[in-house]
C-alpha cells in the first residue's frame, strides 16, 4: 500500500508500462477481483470511499453511477465514457495519467463498466495528446489480447479540438459524429446519453483511482485524505512558481503546501493571488493559503477545486491580463448555442483587452461589471462554460477594484513589471 496510489508506479520519464511490467506491479489484480464481485457491491465500495469526480464539479462518483437504470429496465447498449479532453487552461494532470499510466486507466474503466453494466468503453482524448492516444491504444490492445477485456469493447476516440468537447453532453454529441453542442440535463446521460442510451461520463483521474479502492478498500482510500472527500488528488501548480509540476497529495492539501512543493512563488516571490482549479475558478488570495483544497472547502471559500491545478500570480503579474487571456479563450471556445456565452464572452474579452491596452472607458467597465453580474449566477447560460468563465472575472472585479480603475485610460500599470 502506498500513499501515492495514482502516480506511485509511474516512471520518471512518463513512458508507459508494458502489460507484463504492469502485471508485475500488481496490475489487473483489482480488475480480476472486481469481476468476482456483483456490480452493486463494487458500487457500494466506491460509495463508501467517498470518491468525488475529478473532472471539475466533484460530483460523487457512486451517486452518478447509481443514476444508471437497471439493465433490465433498459435493455441494449450502455456506455462508459472516460473524459480525457483536458482543455481547461492550467490543467495538465490527465495528460500525465494517460501518458504514463494507461493500464491504470484501463483497469479503472473496466471496473467502472462492470459496476454500471456498460457494454462499451470509449476514452475521449484531446488530439494534442498524441502520445497518450498511441500509448492507450497500444495498452488496450495488450489488455484485449490478454483477455482482460472479456466481451467488453474499449476504444480511444481522439477529439478534434474545442474545449466544449469536455462538457459531458457535448462530448456525447461529438462521439455521435456531429457538432459538440451541449444538451439539456435532465435528461442526464445516465438516462439518455450516447445515441440516447444510458451513459456514464467520468474523468480520467476519477477512473484512475477506482482500481485502488477495489484493491485496498474504502477505509484505506478515505484515510488517504485530509478531509471528508476520499483519496489523493493529483494537484498541479503552474504560473509564477519556481518549479511548476504535478503533485499527488492527500485530498485537502493546502495551497501553501502545494506552492512550496512547486518551489515557492517566483517573480517577486510575493503571492498576489491564485486560481485553485484552472481558468474557470475564482481568484483566491493569500488569506486562502491554508484552506484545505477539496471540493467542499474551495466552494465555501467562494472558488472551486475544479481540476485542482493551481495558477499562481505574484504581485508583479497582472490579474487583469490573466483574466483577459482566459476570456479570450472561453470566448473562442463557446459552442455558439446560447446567447450569453456566444455574445457576452467576446465582449468581455474585448473590454479586458481594452483595459490592458489603455483604451477602455468607464462605460466599458460598467458593461463588464454588468456582464459579470448577469452571467455569473448558475443557470443563466445553457451549460456551465460561461458560468465557469465568469468565475475569474467576477472575482477579479471584486478583489482588485483599484487595480482595475488604474487600468482605465492608462492601460496596465504592471506591464513590463515582473
Amino acid at each position: 500500500m502506498t500513499d501515492l496510489p495514482l502516480t506511485g508506479r509511474a516512471r520518471p520519464d512518463r513512458t508507459p508500462h508494458s502489460l507484463a511490467e504492469w502485471r508485475a506491479l500488481g496490475g489487473y489484480d483489482a480488475v480480476e477481483r472486481a469481476f468476482t464481485i456483483p456490480p452493486a457491491q463494487v458500487l457500494d465500495a466506491v460509495d463508501a470511499a467517498a470518491l468525488n469526480g475529478r473532472g471539475g464539479a466533484g460530483f460523487p462518483a457512486a451517486r452518478k453511477w447509481r443514476f444508471m437504470p437497471a439493465p433490465e429496465t433498459s435493455p441494449g447498449p450502455r456506455y462508459l465514457i472516460v473524459n480525457g479532453d483536458e482543455m481547461e487552461p492550467g490543467a495538465f494532470k490527465d495528460r500525465f495519467l494517460l501518458e504514463a499510466l494507461p493500464h491504470q486507466v484501463i483497469e479503472g474503466a473496466l471496473i467502472a463498466a462492470h459496476a454500471t453494466h456498460a457494454t462499451e468503453i470509449i476514452v475521449l482524448i484531446r488530439d494534442d495528446y498524441r502520445a497518450a492516444i498511441a500509448g492507450l491504444t497500444r495498452a488496450i490492445a495488450e489488455a484485449q489480447a490478454a483477455g482482460y477485456l472479456n466481451a467488453m469493447t474499449m476504444r480511444v476516440h481522439p477529439s478534434a479540438g474545442r474545449y466544449i468537447v469536455g462538457e459531458e453532453t457535448a462530448l456525447i454529441a461529438a462521439l455521435e459524429g456531429g457538432r459538440a453542442m451541449p444538451r439539456k440535463r435532465p435528461p442526464f446521460p445516465a438516462q439518455s446519453g450516447l445515441w440516447g442510451r444510458p451513459t456514464t461520463v467520468n474523468n480520467v483521474e476519477t477512473i484512475s483511482l477506482i482500481p485502488h479502492i477495489l484493491a485496498n478498500g474504502a477505509q484505506w482510500f478515505r484515510a488517504l485524505s485530509h478531509t471528508e472527500e476520499g483519496g489523493t488528488k493529483l494537484y498541479g501548480v503552474s504560473g509564477r512558481v519556481r518549479a511548476p509540476g504535478l503533485f499527488e497529495a492527500a485530498m485537502g492539501t493546502t495551497a501553501r503546501e502545494l506552492i512550496d512543493r512547486a518551489g515557492g512563488v517566483s517573480g517577486s516571490g510575493r503571492l498576489l493571488c491564485f486560481q485553485p482549479g484552472g481558468g474557470a475558478s475564482a481568484f483566491l488570495g493569500p488569506e486562502h493559503l491554508d484552506v484545505p483544497m477539496d471540493f467542499g472547502h474551495m466552494a465555501k471559500a467562494g472558488a472551486m477545486l475544479g481540476t485542482g491545478t493551481l495558477i499562481v500570480l505574484d504581485d508583479t503579474a497582472c490579474p487583469v491580463e490573466v483574466t483577459a487571456r482566459h476570456m479570450a479563450f472561453y470566448a473562442r471556445e463557446s459552442c455558439g448555442w446560447c446567447v450569453p456565452c456566444r455574445e457576452g464572452l467576446p465582449w468581455a474579452a474585448r473590454i479586458l483587452r481594452a483595459l490592458e491596452d489603455g483604451s477602455a472607458q468607464p462605460e466599458d467597465l460598467a458593461a463588464l461589471r454588468d456582464i459579470a453580474a448577469e452571467a455569473s449566477p448558475r443557470g443563466r447560460s445553457f451549460c456551465d462554460l460561461m458560468g465557469g468563465a465568469m468565475a475569474p472575472l467576477a472575482s477579479l472585479l471584486a478583489r482588485f477594484p483599484d487595480l482595475i480603475d488604474a487600468h482605465l485610460h492608462r492601460g496596465c500599470p504592471l506591464k513590463g513589471a515582473g
Binding site: 492550467g90 495538465f92 479540438g161 455521435e176 504560473g239 511548476p244
Partner: protein, 157 residues
C-alpha cells in the same frame, strides 16, 4: 481531384465499422486530414458522398472543430500556447520572436509552406511554460526560450 482509392477504401471501412453514416463524419474528416494535412472544399462533397450524408451536414461538423483545418497548413503546424500559465512565463515574447522570425501571424502559413502558426490555449504543458505543441506528432515543447525555439524550428521538415 477525386479521392485517392486508399482513402476511399478507408472511408468505406469507417462507415461499415461505425454502422451509422453520421457517426463516421468526424472520423472521416480526421482521416482525410491525416492523409492530406487539411480538408479542402473539394473534399467535403466527396467525403459526404462516400458516407451518405450531405455536404452541409459534413461541413457543419468540419467547421465546428478547431483542429479540422479547412485551409491548407504548412508541413509543421505550431500550436503556440497563449494560455495563462504560459502568459505568466513569457509566452508573449516567444510569440513575438516566432512571428518575426517566420514573418507570419496567427492563422498564417509561411510562403514556403513550411510552418503554420496557430494560437491555442492551453496545450496541457503548463509545467513547461511557455509551451507549444509542434508537428504531426504534436510534440510538446517547452519551456521555450529563444534558443530552444531556434532548435525546434531547425529540426522541423
Amino acid at each position: 481531384m477525386t479521392l485517392p482509392p486508399v482513402l476511399q477504401a478507408q472511408l468505406r471501412d469507417l462507415v461499415a465499422h461505425e454502422g451509422n453514416p453520421r457517426a463516421a463524419m468526424l472520423e472521416s474528416l480526421r482521416l482525410v486530414q491525416a492523409a492530406e494535412g487539411w480538408v479542402s472544399d473539394d473534399r467535403i462533397p466527396q467525403i459526404a458522398a462516400e458516407l451518405g450524408v450531405t455536404p452541409a451536414e459534413l461541413d457543419a461538423t468540419a467547421s465546428f472543430y478547431s483542429l479540422i483545418f479547412r485551409r491548407p497548413v504548412g508541413r509543421t503546424v505550431i500550436l503556440l500556447c497563449d494560455g495563462a500559465s504560459c502568459g505568466l512565463n513569457g509566452a508573449d515574447a516567444i510569440r513575438d520572436a516566432l512571428m518575426s522570425r517566420l514573418g507570419i501571424g496567427y492563422g498564417q502559413t509561411t510562403p514556403d509552406g513550411r510552418f503554420t502558426l496557430i494560437n491555442s490555449a492551453c496545450v496541457g504543458g503548463c509545467d513547461r511554460a511557455p509551451a507549444a505543441v509542434i508537428g504531426p506528432d504534436r510534440t510538446l515543447v517547452g519551456p521555450l526560450t529563444a534558443d530552444t525555439l531556434n532548435a525546434v524550428l531547425e529540426e522541423a521538415p
